[in-house]
């Protein structure tokens, strides 16, 4: 993966930059020692690493503003960092950049049940937002798998999703407002406790802009009352086609499950060996979860199991109690860990129209043979968000490159059938060079011109999202 070469004039004035940053931050918030900056050399896309010029950990909006103002004046690129859990390399530094980490911005600022909102600093972790309100019966809906670690700032940057977005939507649908620092150090407030924008929907634009338009320091989030209960059913089939048809039939029947998860045979076998959840050894496994009171759950599961039975399942298991429900989820929740036990893996997240599911799974199986790399599929079937996990050996020369080529082919296939490159992880550096398969030059140009308005000098996370060639003239300017 190509990254722009560092600007020698920035490297040359490191001492001066560090000194200026130290003037506006406490001593322990400026990290410039070559050993210590290695902590920030990569995010969860660990195949690519580069220690930054320095990293800073501001603890207030004012400190973020002071840092950005200095970087703007000095012409230093800035890479914003939430918790560093990006699978797409969204927080990968360059040698000439200042990493601005929001880890110290972790306070809850306001909890307002009457208006169903919470205001938090953006470094707070996703799960701890729910943690702040769950004793009172509320929750924050978007639930990316990394929710224990990932920060709200990163969720907003990537417009993160999760397993439950079929019913509750993704980050952008649950974000009411932000406080954001622009690259020149000015602070803007967008949105708030009210529900819609006064003019152009700038909030919608900021969410998912991968830290390229500004650094979000505070966020107003929608919280919801927890449902009375939730219960899953596990359904196994002998073919992906039939499982796909079952998903479609459930949705068409007018039931809206809160989650529909799908695992294929390689993934079922790996998780079974790892977590012993008692899954059947079959081609495709569905976990369908519904919410409500006990009676409401019974009624909905009644409809779902009736549809499932028509397709002749090899196994159909309804959870009778919390323990059984946990066992049904156990394998799914340990799927990534199970695959990681076998080997290194790369996780993609292209989305496809649900109707293309059988075709896409068949093609992925064929490509797996061609490339000689195993792949397991586990994904959010209700919304077509795939998660192929390609296994490779990072220590074997050429394996990473082969894996990346395989991944690129899968993503191209997703676009070909009417889907997209990324459903919830973001583009980062990982899918940057594939953007041309989904977008025409005019489409990309429209996006690039938006960044021109927010960050005319192209200093914020400049080497992400767009193919480098498309932004070269701007980054050089």
């Amino acid at each position: 993966m190509e990254m722009p070469s560092p600007n020698p004039s920035v490297l040359a004035k490191k001492a001066r930059i560090v000194e200026r940053l130290s003037g506006v931050l406490p001593p322990d918030a400026v990290i410039h020692d070559a050993t210590e900056t290695r902590v920030y050399e990569c995010d969860a896309l660990t195949a690519y690493k580069c220690p930054p010029l320095c990293a800073v950990l501001p603890a207030s909006t004012e400190e973020v503003a002071a840092v950005l103002k200095i970087c703007h004046e000095e012409g230093v690129p800035v890479v914003p960092r939430g918790a560093g859990t990006s699978l797409a390399g969204g927080a990968l530094p360059t040698a000439d950049c200042v990493v601005v980490g929001v880890a110290r911005l972790n306070e809850v600022l306001e909890t307002d049940y009457e208006n169903r909102l919470i205001r938090v600093q953006s470094g707070r972790t996703n799960l701890s937002v729910t943690g702040a309100v769950e004793a009172d019966g509320f929750f924050y809906a978007p639930d990316p798998s990394s929710q224990l670690a990932c920060a709200i700032a990163g969720n907003i940057g990537m417009n993160s999703g999760g397993a439950h977005c079929l019913k509750y939507g993704v980050t952008t649908n649950n974000l009411l407002g932000v406080t954001m620092v622009l690259m020149d150090g000015s602070v803007v407030e967008i949105g708030g406790g009210h529900l819609d924008a006064p003019g152009l929907d700038l909030l919608g634009l900021v969410c998912g802009s991968e830290g390229q338009l500004g650094i979000v320091t505070e966020a107003t989030l929608r919280i919801l009352r927890k449902p009375e209960g939730a219960r899953p059913v596990l359904i196994g089939y002998d073919s992906n086609e039939v499982a796909g048809q079952c998903v479609s039939d459930i949705i068409k029947a007018g039931v809206l499950p809160v989650a529909i998860e799908f695992m294929d045979r390689p993934c079922i076998r790996a998780t079974e060996a790892f977590a012993h959840a008692g899954y059947p050894d079959c081609e495709a496994l569905l976990i369908v979860e519904v919410e409500g009171s006990d009676d409401e759950i019974d009624a909905q599961l009644g409809v779902i199991t009736q549809i499932a039975r028509k397709h002749d399942p090899v196994e159909l298991r309804e959870a009778q109690d919390a323990d059984q429900a946990a066992r049904i989820w156990l394998g799914r929740k340990s799927a990534f860990g199970a695959m990681g036990q076998i080997n290194d893996y790369m996780c993609l997240d292209g989305t496809i129209p649900v109707s293309s599911l059988p075709h896409v799974l068949r093609r992925i199986g064929e490509m797996s043979k061609d490339y000689g790399l195993d792949v397991g599929n586990v994904f959010h079937a209700g919304d077509g968000n795939m998660h192929p996990l390609i296994l490779f050996d990072a220590n074997k020369p050429g394996d990473l490159e082969r894996c990346e080529a395989f991944g690129a082919d899968i993503l191209k296939l997703c676009v070909e059938v009417g889907g997209c490159l990324t459903g919830e992880h973001g583009v980062g550096i990982e899918k940057r060079d594939l953007m041309g398969t989904q977008f025409d030059p005019v489409d990309l140009d429209a996006q690039i011109r938006i960044k021109d308005v927010f960050d005319p000098k192209w200093l914020l996370n400049p080497a992400k999202v767009f193919p480098l060639a498309a932004t070269e003239s701007r980054r050089a300017a």
Binding site: V170, L195, D201, L205, S248, Q300, Q447
Partner: protein, 376 residues
């Protein structure tokens, strides 16, 4: 009036334009004073292009009548989640609302409080910008974070960034049953408190409105739930118990009558034909009564649990000064030409945001020909 019938013709028309263009879908939702310039109708780009009930997805050309989209979905047992308002009665307009017009104005209804606004269900757009470029963002899948989200950005941009040619939505199942809890006689503060109590319950309220002066003049507070029959009757019972402190509650289960009640709220029928300007105010729900007290309106209607206020006020009066100190914004939805020329129709944005919005508009419409001046 130009009437392109394909996206290519639309792009040609905009590229070749040598002056301002007045963009029109069905023409049922005019806002602000009539913009000058040549008319450009999108009604010729019409038709549902894809409907997959099993994927909860519909794609239509922008000029497709809203009624056609809704009928297509109804045949599949589904609907648009955000319950778009019909502006014709309120604004006294004629014509056929289009799906592109719904998106351009980000038109949502009472269910916005539960299911999100139009922009939340919108998953893809194609549009032609002021340079004549046909641009796409999003697509037909409901989870898509590939590149910047121009989908949300275009929703509610009133044709000032580009002219929509195609829109895609995530849709939802149409429920079998509905119940409306009705409480009479509450003052505004208690009403909004009752609505909040419903909305913070686990019973999935899909509508929360308060009419301080209902059909017979008495205040009426309404809470709606939808779903399958057993679930609706269970949740109606639970809500009745929960809201007991607010007095007598009647439960309307007749789907026709319930639909009529909510259509009146959705379309703000109470101000149709009534003399006065109509403002649309968006605040934090609990600030609703305070905002209403501040503006001194002839009549008001609360939706979205109190967060959306429709106000009928004296002609020519700017209510924004009275609202200062209450976070949110106010839009002048209906007024005569003179008032629209004197008072900004859209809420003036704070300095840095106004500069960003203006900069963005210039990027998409460098010649300033798309509904110029409409949004500022």
């Amino acid at each position: 009036m130009m009437n392109p019938t394909t996206e290519a013709e639309l792009a040609e028309a905009i590229a070749a334009a040598d002056g301002p263009l007045r963009v029109i879908g069905g023409g049922t939702r005019p806002i602000g004073y009539p913009a000058g310039g040549q008319g450009l109708s999108v009604a010729g780009l019409s038709g549902v292009e894809l409907y997959e009930p099993g994927a909860l997805t519909i794609v239509a050309k922008a000029g497709t009548p809203l009624a056609e989209v809704e009928a297509t979905l109804a045949a599949g047992g589904q609907r648009l989640p955000f319950e778009p308002m019909d502006h014709r009665a309120l604004l006294g307009t004629q014509g056929e609302p289009t799906i592109g017009g719904v998106v351009a104005a980000n038109v949502s209804g009472p269910r916005r409080i539960q299911a999100g606004a139009c922009r939340d269900s919108l998953i893809g757009v194609r549009f032609v910008d002021g340079r004549g470029n046909a641009i796409k963002s999003g697509g037909r899948v409901m989870k898509n974070v590939t590149g910047y989200d121009l989908v949300k950005f275009l929703a509610g941009s009133y044709g000032t960034l580009g002219v929509l040619s195609q829109v895609s939505f995530k849709v939802l199942p149409r429920p079998d049953a509905i119940a409306v809890l009705r409480i009479e006689g509450l003052n505004d503060v208690d009403a909004v408190r009752a609505l909040a109590m419903g909305l913070t319950s686990p019973f999935e309220v899909s509508g929360a409105a308060h009419v301080p002066a209902g059909i017979d003049g008495a205040p009426l507070t309404m809470i709606r739930i939808e779903g399958f029959e057993a679930s609706v009757s269970y949740r109606a019972d639970e809500l009745e118990k929960l809201l007991a402190e607010f007095g007598e509650i009647t439960v309307e289960l007749d789907p026709e009558r319930a639909a009529t009640d909510w259509r009146r709220v959705r379309d703000v029928e109470v101000f149709a034909g009534a003399a006065g300007d109509v403002w649309r105010i968006s605040v934090k729900p609990s600030d609703g009564p305070r905002a209403v007290a501040a503006i001194g309106a002839r009549g008001v209607l609360y939706d979205w649990g109190g967060g959306l206020i429709w106000a009928l006020v004296d002609e020519g009066r700017d209510i924004r000064p009275a609202l200062s100190g209450i976070p949110g914004h106010a839009t002048l939805v209906r007024a005569d030409e003179k008032t629209c020329a004197a008072i900004p129709v859209f809420h003036p944005e704070a300095g840095p945001l106004a500069a960003i919005s203006a900069g963005l508009r210039r990027q998409f419409d460098p010649r300033g020909i798309l509904n110029p001046g409409l949004m500022g």
